[in-house]
Each structure stands twice: as C-alpha cells, then as structure tokens.
C-alpha cells in the first residue's frame, strides 16, 4: 500500500508521543478502539487556566495511517478551546493526510479520540 508523504512523515517522526498523569485535574484522557479491530488510540489533552488546550500527548496501536492521524490531531488541538477542538472533523484529517478510502476509519477514530478526551476533562470539571 502506498502511503502519502505526510503519513510517512508523521509515522517516521510522530509528534507528541507520550502520556500525562491520568489523575491530573488539568488532563483529559480519551481511549478509543479495540485491539481485535487493529486500532487503539489514547489521546490526552492538558488544559490551561485560560481554558485552552496547552499541550497534548498520544499513544496509538495501529497502522501507519492511525499513527499519523493521532499524531496530527495532537498538533491541531494545541491552543484551541475545548469547544473548538471538538469541532475537528475526520474529513479534515483525512484530507490533510490524503488518506485512501480504506483508511478513513483511522481519521474517524482520531476524531472520536478528541471528543472522548474533551468529555473526560469536562466530567472532571462539571460546569
């Protein structure tokens, strides 16, 4: 399978790999997917006092496109408010990485991971 240059770049040099402390009040954690399906993504956001995402981390078990999709969204969510981050759509991810149709599910998973991380943070901070 031929991968786009952007997928290869994120795969070779993944951005923001790692983990924050799940228990930290300023951290929201989203884990989506299942090993049997071949993809598991863990996305974490660290939210600043101003309500903006100041940092993000990811770990992904999955193909090159899944790794690239999650690496890309860690870059995209930085500096965004929670509501702004939740507006990121899988189509934008797929377009940016030129994902072929069979790899669209990777971008959907990345979108789901953001939403799950935002939700987890909101649960810790009921309005």
């Amino acid at each position: 399978m031929a991968y786009s240059e952007k997928v290869l770049d994120h795969y070779e040099n993944p951005r923001n790999v790692g983990s924050f402390d799940k228990g930290d009040e300023s951290v929201g954690t989203g884990m989506v997917g299942a090993p049997a399906c071949g993809d598991v993504m863990k996305l974490q956001i660290k939210v600043g006092a101003d309500g903006r995402i100041e940092d993000a981390r990811f770990k992904t078990y999955g193909c090159g496109s899944a790794i690239a999709s999650s690496s890309l969204v860690t870059e995209w969510v930085k500096g965004k408010t929670l509501d702004e981050a939740a507006t990121i759509r899988n189509t934008q991810i797929a377009q940016e990485l030129s994902l072929p149709p069979v790899k669209i599910h990777c971008s959907i998973l990345a979108e789901d991971a953001i939403k799950a991380a935002v939700e987890d943070y909101k649960k810790k901070h009921p309005a």
Binding site: C37, K42, K103
Partner: protein
Amino acid sequence: MKLPIYLDYSATTPVDPRVAAKMIPYLTEHFGNPASRSHAFGWTAEEAVEEARAHVAALIGADPKEIVWTSGATEGNNLAIKGAAHFYKSKGKHLITQKTEHKAVLDTFRELERQGFEATYLEVEPDGIIDIEKFKSAIRPDTILASIMMVNNEIGVIQPVWEIGEICRAKGIVFHCDAVQGAGRVEIDMAKLKADLVTITAHKIYGPKGIGALYVRRKPRVRIEAQIHGGGHERGFRSGTLPTHQIVGFGEAARLAKLEMAKDNAHVRALRDKLLHSIQELEEVYVNGSLEKRIPHNLNVSFNFVEGESLIMAVKDIAVSSGSACTSASLEPSYVLRALGRSDELAHSSIRFTLGRFSTEEEIHFAADLIKRKVAKLRELSPLWEMHQEGIDLNTVQWAAH
C-alpha cells in the same frame, strides 16, 4: 550490503549462478524439442532432460522413471490429488488433509468436494503438527486419499509424514505429500518415505520458476488420471512440450542441493539461531510452531502489542513475509497461525524470516538490530504496551468496539 535484505527464501530462492550458467546453452544453442526423435537437436535435448531427471530422482532417492515434469508445485498438487481421486473414485469418496496445507492443496480439495467427494480437514496441535492418533481416527472405510505436507511453508514445522505413510500403506490409502518446502532441506529417501505421490518444485531449491516434478510411485504402482491432455508426453501423465532449459536448471539445482544440503543446513541453522537469540532480547516475543521439529531455514515470530501493518511498514529494509495480508481495509490474519490457536492480534503481528544459501551474518545482524529497534519504537507508541507495563490484563478491559 545491499538493501532490502532478502529473507524470504520460502517464497522463492534466487537461481544459483551455477544453475543459470548450465541453463543458458539450452535456450540458444541446444534448443531442440526433446520429443523430436528424428534429428540431433531433439536427441541432445532429450539427453539433457534425462540427465536432469536422474538428478531430481537422486535428490529424493527415487527411480528416474518415477519423476513426471510439471509446471510447478500448484500443478503437481492438482495432478496428484485430482488425478488419484478421479482414478480411485469407484473405491470410495473420502479424502483427508489438514488445515495448514498450502492453498494449492486446500483449494484442490474444495474443488473435489464440489465434484461430490467428502473431505476431512484435520486440526493441528498448538505446535503446528498433526496428531497421528487424530489422523488414524479420521480414516473411514471409504477413504481413498490423504494429503499431508512435509514442511509447512509459513512456520517451517516438519509433519510426521513417515508415520503417516506407513499408516496409509497398511490401509491401502493413496498418500500424497507436498514436499515443496522439504526438498533440499530435509533428507528424503523414497525407500523410507511411504508416499505414493510427492510434489517438489525447482524455485525453492535455487532453480528456476515454472518447473516442478511429481513423484509417482511404481512399486507398488499408484495410478492417476492425467489432468492435461495432448501429445502424451511424460508417459501420458502430463502432456506438453518439455521446457528443456527449465528442466536442466531443476536438475542442476537438485544435484547441488543433494551435494550441499548438510552445508546449507548448518549455515542457515547457525544464522537462524543467532537471529532468534538476538530477537529474544525483546519481551513478549512468541515463536509460532515447534522450534524443534522445524527446518533450520524458518523463523516465524509474533511481537505482542505491536500492530501488524505498522510493523511491516517499519521493516521495509528487510524482505520478509507477514502473517497478515494488508491489501484491504481489514487485515486478514494468516489461517495457518489461526489454526495454531493464535489470537488475531498475535497472528497479525507475526513475521516469517526464511533464510537461505546466500544469507550472510552481516545481513542477519542488520535484520535483528532493525527488528529490535522498530519493535521497541512501536511499543513506545503503543497504549497496549503501556497498559501491559502497568500490569493491566488487556483481556479484562472493556473496549469500545468500532
């Protein structure tokens, strides 16, 4: 050292330069049709074909008259299985094979089922080898044919075909053995292996692609129906003009294989063991199939907590075969590894290394180092590995299936 490094000798082998040199004159100079009886061109070609037949027969301890040229292993397996089933169909309609056979056997069995035969597909044990007792209990009064491979192409395990041969001989069941991965690697002597039909092919033993042979036993004589009809070549078993240069190549490859088998085996065993020991520095590495009852050329391992497709992407500097085919949206795990009882995840993250005559220590060192670095890197990226490190049992986790 040239990249990528070839470690896929069970898929095919390069033609040995000594074999290629022997073939060339039969393309340009001695181009005659071996079936031409009326002139020297034909006689020269025929002589070369018969010399090659003797070399191929010698490799497996057979009589040259028992060797029938085919286009390769797929045709050999088709001719043996369909040929025997069709010939003996009045005796019975039950056939036995096992689940980890090559597709050329399994699909031929499926076709015979469509034609009205009944087939039993034996399970293998977790080490990849069939249980003799289970084989015995699968035999029915109307069993006419059994087909069990000598060496599995994916995991390299050696099946107890010698015992199975004895059982079949005693019961009057025709026994076909696909020995494609065994020839040149395992000592084969048809006086000791009680098989009636044996498939071998040139391109797994440093010969050219497109030429194989079917051993058809004469004592006691086994009968098969031809599948390709025409000029009655190969004593009617397989019509079609003989490709002299291919046959000459097969003959020379077989001669060298017999001559150098001990040396080749010692060479690849030393390298394979080095590769295994080096890779085993990683945690959570699983060897697929028995390591003891296995040809020394094969190493098939699964790397836990690493996803298969990303692993293949990571090791593109080595030409290896993977347990999963990532041609479609969903990975298709290897049916052989599934038959061993491996989980989908472990089946997906497997790599088959197959070594050969031209593998070098430098290449193995490079491959082992690459694998170790890439698996470690992918595990750093893997949330599953992180959970494993934290002592979480992944089987207890509620996953959000998608």
